[in-house]
């Protein structure tokens, strides 16, 4: 167990905003100083382009950039560095997968998603469906807001070619049993893709244990910088994947009318990548290693149990949570109160949470809601944060339901 008061000192944000109760970690986590310093280190000491060059600082930048691939390999237990592609984030990774795999699809084929998907794991597939004549199917969730395995079993048949599923819902906090999902999908010869944006900093993610073909996440949801992420793929998948972004660095030979792809992963990283961002991601991996992702998850689950217990004492609050809730994300609604009004008043008390549709509109429609308020925890949150949130929430509800 870590000392969260001490952990807050790792983040300049808390120095500049000492009163901040930051409960929007599912949107982005705050950035510890060591990540910022690592990125500064690149700009101050070895600012050069990578994989090019003929000079020492370029070689230094390349070495550091490639080291981060090894750090990511360790963090998600990938087989090797050739399985790690740097992207600009989860959304970029999903677009690369959708566009790069569509050549495998024929009319009548099925892409299986869930009702809980973030738009990043929906819109790219909607386009692919229009382009290929394939169709989408959606796994339901249960009344208890859990992944509906019966629905999955019913929808998974030999027409399903791709199963692309979130690990943890960014709205409900539902944890999908992805290992079982991947095993069943594999038995049907379907390609399995996991959106790990919401799990990567909150539980151990072991790609070989999960058994997925691909998995994507963003650095900025694991204490790294924005604008950088990872696409993990098995060697077999990456060999099938057609490069989506074309440009410098991805080819071995270019003629006027043709080109031969470079090796994997270089063929997927066209142009100058976000070098400083990747180096920041390396520092974030280091930070997570120090904190221990399992310890962080345990801490967040303890906080979540406390938050649920406290929220249950406010009669107007309805939590979108079942009997079991083991993640760091929770949505709730307040009877007779618009989620946006609530977020506005909580902001006055320095409580930062998310309100709205959370880029998951089909899910909100399925829930019959126009929006929710969402709290989500990170390594630095404390039970005092929750106490302050609850006090502010009671006060805001009081102001918004005063009929005078």
């Amino acid at each position: 167990m870590h000392n969260q008061v001490k952990i807050k000192k790792d983040f300049q944000m808390f120095y500049h905003h000492p009163d901040l109760v930051y409960l929007d970690n599912a949107a982005t986590t705050l950035t510890p100083d060591i990540v910022v310093e690592a990125m500064n280190g690149y700009y101050h000491h070895y600012n050069a382009n990578i994989h090019r060059g003929g000079h020492g600082i370029g070689a230094m930048a390349t070495e550091r950039y490639e080291q981060v691939r090894s750090q990511v390999v360790q963090y998600i237990h990938a087989p090797g560095t050739n399985n790690i592609v740097f992207t600009s984030g989860t959304t970029h990774g999903m677009n690369m997968l959708a566009q790069g795999l569509k050549h495998l699809l024929e009319p009548g084929d099925v892409i299986l998603l869930t009702r809980m998907e973030h738009h990043a794991n929906l819109l790219p597939w909607q386009r692919v469906v229009r382009e290929t004549g394939a169709e989408l199917r959606f796994v339901e969730f249960t009344d208890d807001y859990q992944f509906d395995m019966d629905s999955f079993d019913r929808l998974l048949d030999e027409r399903v070619k791709i199963v692309s599923i979130t690990h943890i819902s960014n709205v409900l906090g539902t944890v999908v049993p992805i290992k079982e999902v991947c095993q069943k999908a594999k038995d049907m010869q379907a390609i399995t893709i996991i959106d790990a944006a919401q799990s990567i900093a909150h539980m151990a993610v072991d790609v070989q244990d999960i058994g997925c073909d691909a998995l994507v996440f963003s650095a900025h949801k694991m204490y790294g910088p924005t604008g950088v992420g990872v696409l993990y793929g098995t060697t077999a998948l990456l060999e099938e994947l057609v490069p989506y972004h074309l440009g410098g660095g991805i080819v071995r030979e270019v003629r006027e009318d043709s080109a031969i792809w470079n090796d994997i992963p270089a063929r997927f990283e066209a142009g100058t990548p976000n070098i400083a961002g990747v180096i920041g991601l390396g520092a974030a991996c280091e930070y997570m290693k120090d904190m221990g992702v399992t310890d962080v998850g345990d801490h967040e689950h303890t906080l979540m149990a406390y938050a649920i217990q406290q929220l249950a004492t406010i009669p107007q609050v309805t939590m979108l949570s079942g009997k079991t809730h083991v993640s760091s994300v929770l949505s709730f609604v307040v009877e007779g109160v618009h989620h946006h009004d609530l977020a506005t008043l909580l902001d006055e008390e320095h409580i930062a949470l998310r309100s709205g549709r959370h880029c998951a509109e089909p899910l909100l429609m399925a829930l019959g809601l126009v929006g929710t308020c969402r709290i989500s925890f990170g390594v630095y949150n404390t039970s005092e944060d929750i106490d302050r949130f609850i006090v502010a929430l009671r006060k805001a509800i009081g102001i918004l339901t005063n009929d005078e």
Partner: protein, 131 residues
């Protein structure tokens, strides 16, 4: 009262409200006192696209001036609309177009700008000034 006088009056009123609680309570009460918008106008045609809450706004002419009616599904948003309409409704097109809406920054709400953007405040102002 001219638009300038109305803005001065609002600024003065907000300056005597001691805290954000009172300021928001006042904004909410303004919203509640807004004359209701008939349901027939709560359609896409009158919807001002905002990120988080819906605002419906209609304008009509009366004695050569522009009048507005509006509603929102969120109380604070509705209050902010009411503030805007208090200032501009019943004035000429030219006067409305020349209105300096920066007074909204001066009424002392910390989160005003960020939240207002989410509320589609700029979209509301655009709609009001482009009748």
């Amino acid at each position: 009262m001219s638009i300038h006088e109305k803005i001065a009056q609002l600024k003065e009123y907000f300056s005597v409200l001691p805290g954000w609680e009172e300021k928001y309570a006042y904004i909410i009460s303004l919203g509640k006192s807004l004359s209701p918008l008939a349901d027939e106008y709560k359609t896409d045609e009158y919807l001002v696209r905002g990120c988080q809450s819906n605002v419906w706004l209609r304008s009509y002419e009366q004695d050569g001036n522009v009048c507005f009616e509006a509603d929102s599904d969120a109380l604070i948003t509705k209050g902010i609309v009411a503030l805007l309409l208090f200032v501009v409704s019943g004035h000429s097109n030219e006067d409305i177009r020349d209105t300096d809406f920066s007074f909204l920054d001066d009424i002392g709400l910390k989160s005003h700008l960020s939240m207002a953007r989410a509320n589609g405040l700029q979209a509301m102002i655009d709609r009001i000034t482009h009748v």
